[in-house]
């Protein structure tokens, strides 16, 4: 990748009337967004959302250090807010990989996390504990599968890539979050959906917290379905999978696994004596019959569990909307929230009193038509953006004429990891392109950024505006408002 900085789109990124500049880094498959809001005194208020790249990225240290160095340069070493959306490496790894920069050269004033990360929240704690145990089980299954002849754990590993190192390891997402939470200068806050507040020091910006949902059933809902009730039944069972987890983690603390066995002890003959049993010797172990043995079926189920945990973790994303009070324009940063989270947003409502004393009642249905910048959730996966759905408020409600969408993707990496068919999902990209009338920017280096001149569905003014607003370099995409 050439490192020379070049302007792909001409534009003036630093106009005086600028309200915010959003810098999205083009470092690979992962999220890192630096928002610089203009304070009333003209100086910038810096808010960083995530900093990470997927586990398979080669030589991520220097890559993320370069990102971190740019953050230092842009912010002068002070982050007013850090938002860590959820526990996936492609959102958090940079804090470890570029530890020196973040530790020594960046001061973090505030850390915003989702309620699910709050150790004092009993449900959040329970969720995290169960996630850890189930992930352990999945890792055990992957190991067992890899050791079986003719089997491969590739299916599970492509999911585990998002989780990164095992819990307990210094570079695990939990360890990274712990380290961030231990920083002395940082004020930590945990956020529930329904929270709203004015951005500190920037009275013209109001923050709305959309997700993660507080209803465990919605957290587990990850697949689009025509009916709410149908949608979460199956993923929920898969996500629980307690019997499987008990089998994979039999000696886990004080968990009693006896009841997970289907039959009483006297019915169970030890598998280690199967070869001595005439029936099994003749029918199961017969020569030439190994192709139809069932030794691995139960382990391959762990892939589904891994997927469910992965989607579940995405749904714990802290999803935020930033509203400019005077103009009404909205920036939407949903993290990697999936359908279950999106569906709950339609029910949210906020009674707000703005700094000018005005009282309003705000719903997501009021916010979405005003979205001018959408950070595509979950790398434009099929279930990361609510679209074509009967219920809820989603992409179809984003009707603002100036809508721009930025998608953090790296399709070469997706292909390498076995996610190329859904990350990004072609029909969603097509729809995003239609909704933005071409103002869709993929961070992918294979993608040629849209040339405003060719966007003939835009008016001349709109083309000019887009050319001024979006600046794409090798390292990042800058959007200004």
């Amino acid at each position: 990748m050439p490192r020379k900085r070049k302007k792909v789109v001409n534009g003036n990124g630093a106009a005086n009337s600028q309200k915010v500049r959003i810098r999205t880094y083009r470092h690979g498959l992962g999220d890192c967004h630096l928002l610089a809001f203009t304070k009333p005194d003209g100086s910038a208020f810096h808010l960083l959302i995530d900093c990470g790249v997927v586990n398979r990225t080669r030589d991520p240290g220097p890559l993320m250090t370069r990102v971190a160095k740019d953050i230092v340069e842009q912010t002068g070493g002070v982050l007013d807010v850090l938002v860590a959306t959820h526990q996936h490496t492609d959102h958090l790894s940079g804090f470890k990989q570029a530890e020196d920069e973040f530790k020594n050269n960046i001061k973090m004033k505030r850390l915003w996390l989702a309620w699910t990360e709050d150790p004092a929240n009993p449900l959040g704690k329970k969720i995290q504990d169960q996630l850890v145990r189930k992930l352990k089980a999945v890792r055990t299954a992957a190991k067992k599968l890899a050791s079986l002849k003719g089997e491969s754990a590739a299916g599970i590993n492509r999911v585990l890539d998002f989780f990164g190192a095992a819990p307990g390891h210094a570079s695990s997402t939990q360890a990274i979050l712990d380290a961030l939470q231990k920083r002395k200068e940082t004020e930590i806050s945990y956020h529930d959906p329904g929270d709203t507040f004015v951005l500190p020091e920037v009275p013209n910006v109001r923050v709305y917290v959309l997700g993660p949902p507080t209803n465990p059933a919605q957290l587990k809902m990850t697949t689009p379905s025509k009916s709410k009730r149908q949608g979460y039944e199956v993923p929920e069972i898969a996500a629980d999978a307690n019997g499987l987890v008990d089998a994979l983690q039999p000696n886990d603390g004080d968990v009693d696994t006896e009841l997970s066995y289907p039959f009483e002890k006297w019915h169970r003959r030890g598998a280690n004596t199967m070869r001595q049993n005439k029936f099994f010797r003749e029918h199961y172990f017969r020569k030439g019959q190994s192709w139809r043995r069932a030794d691995n079926y139960w382990l391959t189920c762990a892939e589904q569990l891994a997927l469910a945990l992965n989607d579940f973790t995405n749904n714990t994303s802290l999803a935020l909307a930033f509203e400019f009070i005077d103009s009404g324009e909205v920036l939407l940063f949903p993290g990697d929230a999936q359908v279950g989270s999106w569906l709950t947003w339609a029910d949210l409502g906020w009674n707000v009193t703005d700094p000018n004393g005005e009282k309003r009642y705000v719903r997501v249905a009021d916010l979405f038509p005003r979205v001018v910048f959408y950070k595509s959730s979950h790398h434009a996966s099929y279930n990361g953006t609510l679209s074509g759905y009967i219920e809820g408020v989603g992409l179809e409600e984003m009707t603002h004429p100036n809508l721009v969408c930025v998608v953090p993707v790296d399709r070469a990496m997706s292909k390498e990891m076995g996610w190329d068919r859904t990350l990004p999902w072609t029909p969603l990209l097509k729809r995003l392109k239609e909704k933005t009338r071409g103002r869709l920017v993929l961070t992918d280096h294979n993608e040629i950024p849209p040339d405003p001149k060719t966007l003939d569905t835009l008016s001349k003014t709109e083309r000019e505006r887009f050319a001024e607003q979006v600046l794409v370099t090798d390292d990042h995409v800058d959007y200004t408002l």
Binding site: G155, S225, E236, G243, L244, R269, F279, W291, C301
Partner: protein, 630 residues
């Protein structure tokens, strides 16, 4: 056994040698976990009749082998010996959730019931899909005698058919203690104790033996069809037990006209696992007052629903609708007789005689629909089926068997499909005549001659598949015929003696001046094709005479590029030959070169298929994967 469709009560799987014809085995009428919710919990037992065959412990018979290994529990369970005199005498073991030997008996009983229903409807023996063993030189496609069944294969709320392992794997799972869960807390739920789940999975494996290319999802309907067909067999097989319906019909009393009770019963299928829920979506749902109400068919749903289960539910809903219409017509007179002509039933419980007769009519209607659904498989294209194709197959197959539609079954079916928008898009009208597959009349003289050569060669096949031969012997004869057909066609390619058979069949055989990209050329310069099935069908003609037909399935492949990935598209043709007149009766075609199908495939491949197929890697267990993505 020769491919003779015996009378409605005959069975091709039953041995004629022994004195016994049936093995009676007791089992659950409804999922035991579900029965806890029924007022009828005490009556949750029915007797299955499996064709008699000598069994070894397992049970292991001629068609299936039950092997009870539970790797997740690091345990195995002793196999049941159903030939033990004390077990035979007691009609099998007592239904008991806590006894693994009963589980083995139950999966055997339901799987054999399903197999018997297929053999009865198709009029021929069932073989499992052949195993391709690359190492064995002389044996290019191996006979697999038995379907393997693992009743406790894994821990999970799922069950699947593995085409590679020729096996059914059933999961079990602890009922969740989570208050948001759908199942009752406590205890273990076994998928191998549900008639519907066992019948559903067995049907996947049986459908695979007849139409193996239906595991290749080449359009939104294909996997949806696999799911829907498995649901249909499970549902109507279940309803073919009069005992199952008896209680419900007694309860319906004056409400028979709406048949909501039947719908409600169907709706509860698979509820315990949250799987197999297609029916619930398809037929109706509980309203806010907790009362079931039928769902109004939505003619646009077919255009907008692509997820395989939801789409399959449309087909299930259509056939269920037709069943209700047929049942209603069949009992109209009974109700009139019972009510002195008023058709309005008096208050209070129905007379026991009437309930019995109504249940029998319902069970008979279910058995008929089941037979119609299965027989239609012989009239389906070998690849890339759509629901519209299936409607045409249903109609054509039924016309061939029952030319006079006295009970208006076909009208009911067409009407139900039409209301859901499930019809072929390339027909001007939906009359019985236009839905009927076109006959082979369009063949020119050369084409007719070529067909006559094929048919003549195949004349021996029905005679050579003997009654008393083992299934393996019959399998080998059929395999030999497949090879013969290939050998007859291949040297004729390029000699200009196939006439317009290419046009009629949609196959591409002759070499082209400009090569067709993505298609393999054979050694003889023509394009590669596979004779992937040869199936004899013997039916009775309108005058009662026996008519011998042969169903030939021929397929071809072509590779196309979608979004930078290489995808296989399939084409092919089902040829139905009349062995007596040596003519082509039907050519059911999916031309291998078809721009419209390519465009549809591309939309599907980058859209829903990208999701349901998961990673770019090949999916080894497509059905398992489909269920997991439910």
């Amino acid at each position: 056994m020769p491919p003779v469709a015996k009378g409605k009560n005959g069975s091709t799987a039953a041995s004629v040698s022994g004195a016994r014809q049936w093995r009676k085995l007791r089992g659950y009428a409804f999922d035991p976990i579900l029965s806890q919710q029924f007022e009828t919990a005490g009556l949750n037992e029915i007797v299955f009749r499996a064709p008699w065959e000598p069994l070894s412990p397992g049970p292991i018979g001629d068609y299936v082998e039950v092997i009870d290994y539970d790797p997740a529990s690091k345990a195995f369970y002793e196999p049941v010996n159903l030939d033990d005199p004390s077990i035979v005498g007691g009609d099998g073991l007592d239904p008991d959730e806590s006894n693994p030997q009963f589980h083995q008996q139950f999966v055997y009983a339901v799987a054999m019931t399903t197999i018997r229903n297929f053999e009865q409807a198709l009029g021929r023996k069932v073989f499992w899909t052949r195993r391709n063993e690359k190492k064995a030189k002389d044996k290019w496609e191996l006979f697999v005698p038995r379907l393997r069944i693992y009743p406790h294969a894994f821990r999970g709320a799922n069950a699947f058919y593995s085409p590679d392992g020729k096996a059914l794997a059933f999961g079990y799972f602890p009922a969740s203690g989570d208050p948001t869960g759908v199942q009752l807390p406590g205890g273990v739920v076994f998928t191998c104790l549900s008639h519907d789940i066992i019948a559903h999975e067995t049907t996947h494996s049986l459908l695979d033996t007849i139409l193996p290319r239906y595991l290749d999802a080449t359009n939104p309907d294909v996997l949806a069809f696999h799911e829907a067909f498995a649901d249909l067999v499970a549902l109507f097989q279940h309803f073919s037990f009069p005992e199952v319906l008896h209680q419900q019909i007694a309860k319906t009393r004056g409400d028979l006209a709406s048949q909501s009770q039947l719908g409600e019963l169907a709706q509860q299928f698979g509820q315990a696992t949250g799987l197999y829920g297609g029916l619930r979506e398809a037929i109706g749902r509980l309203n806010e007052d907790g009362k079931w109400e039928p769902l109004k068919p939505d003619p646009t749903a077919y255009e907008t629903t692509e997820e395989p289960h939801a789409r399959g539910a449309l087909l299930v809903g259509a056939v269920f609708d037709a069943f209700l219409t047929i049942y209603r017509a069949r009992v109209e007179d009974l109700i009139r007789i019972a009510t002195g002509g008023s058709g309005i039933l008096p208050a209070g419980a129905l007379p026991a005689d009437l309930t019995n007769r109504l249940s029998r009519e319902a069970a008979k209607s279910a058995q008929h629909i089941l037979g119609i659904c299965i027989r239609a498989l012989d009239y389906c294209p070998p690849v890339d089926i759509t629901f519209g194709d299936y409607l045409r197959a249903l109609i054509t197959a039924d016309v061939d068997l029952v030319p006079e539609d006295d009970h208006h079954y076909r009208v009911a079916i067409i009407e139900a499909f039409r209301r859901r928008g499930l019809y072929p898009r390339d027909l001007r009208t939906l009359s019985e005549q236009s839905l009927h597959w076109p006959s082979g009349d369009q063949l020119d003289a050369a084409g007719r001659k070529a067909i006559a050569v094929l048919a003549k060669k195949l004349r021996d096949l029905p005679q050579r598949s003997h009654h008393k031969d083992s299934r393996e012997k019959t399998f080998e004869i059929w395999r030999e015929f497949r090879r013969t057909i290939h050998h007859i066609i291949t040297p004729r390619i390029g000699k200009d003696i196939l006439g317009n058979l290419e046009d009629i069949s949609g196959l591409v055989l002759l070499p082209r001046k400009k090569a067709i990209p993505g298609m393999k050329v054979s050694k003889r310069k023509g394009y590669s094709f596979e004779v992937h099935s040869v199936r004899p069908v013997r039916r009775h003609g309108p005058g009662g005479e026996e008519v011998d037909n042969i169903v030939l399935g021929i397929t071809q492949e072509r590779w196309i590029n979608v979004n930078g990935g290489q995808y296989k598209v399939l084409g092919g043709c089902t040829l139905i030959l009349d062995l007596d007149t040596l003519t082509l009766r039907y050519a059911i075609r999916k031309p291998i070169v078809d721009k419209q199908r390519d465009a549809r495939f591309q939309r599907w491949a980058e859209g829903t298929f990208a999701i349901t197929s998961g990673a770019g890697a090949e999916i080894r267990e497509p059905i398992a994967h489909l269920h997991l993505n439910a």
